[in-house]
Symmetry: C2
């Protein structure tokens, strides 16, 4: 009954890094090659590769090779929903803070 929390934590750990979140968001509606991810994210090749490796090992993404390129995509689109809920909670919170700062009534 306790082991599920370890697995759950391992999965959430994947999303506890801003670079991996950015990669996840890039892949949300299309698969991409590593080169494309590098170009759009402006991060180093080694770093992207390491993060993709972590995401793959936790089953968040899957990859396939096509010639020289390797393409990554999300393994389970359900996770997008979880991602979006968290983002929604955060943006609501930011909006609330903005209103307080600006002096707008709720």
């Amino acid at each position: 009954m306790k082991e599920i929390y370890n697995l759950h934590a391992e999965m959430c750990k994947v999303f506890s890094n801003p670079i991996r979140l950015e990669i996840f968001n890039l892949l949300r509606d299309k698969e991409m090659s590593v080169t494309e991810i590098i170009n759009t994210s402006k991060l180093s090749q080694a770093n992207i590769s390491q993060h993709l490796s972590i995401m793959k090992s936790k089953g968040i993404v899957i990859s396939k090779r096509d010639g020289k390129m390797i393409y990554y995509k999300l393994s389970n689109p359900k996770i997008i929903k979880a991602f979006d809920i968290i983002k929604e909670v955060l943006t609501e919170r930011l909006e609330k803070n903005r209103k307080i700062l600006v002096g707008v009534k709720a």
Copy 2:
């Protein structure tokens, strides 16, 4: 456009620890005092207190004092939905693996 990923990652970091997930799950439908959490989770007082402090600082839980006791509850029930989606993805995955091991057809 990048700062949201840092906030998002900070929030997910809260869920990247099995003890905090256990506490979150205890609080999913009722508020609890620290003593109650200690008793049901069988973890040390200091450790629980530290984890609650982290959860509170990230806005996942809120607390109120009532006499000697301090009661914690979830700040935003929406997050339960995200928690459950991740859990669902994991249990589906475990079930698939079980079937493969046991030799059941999909």
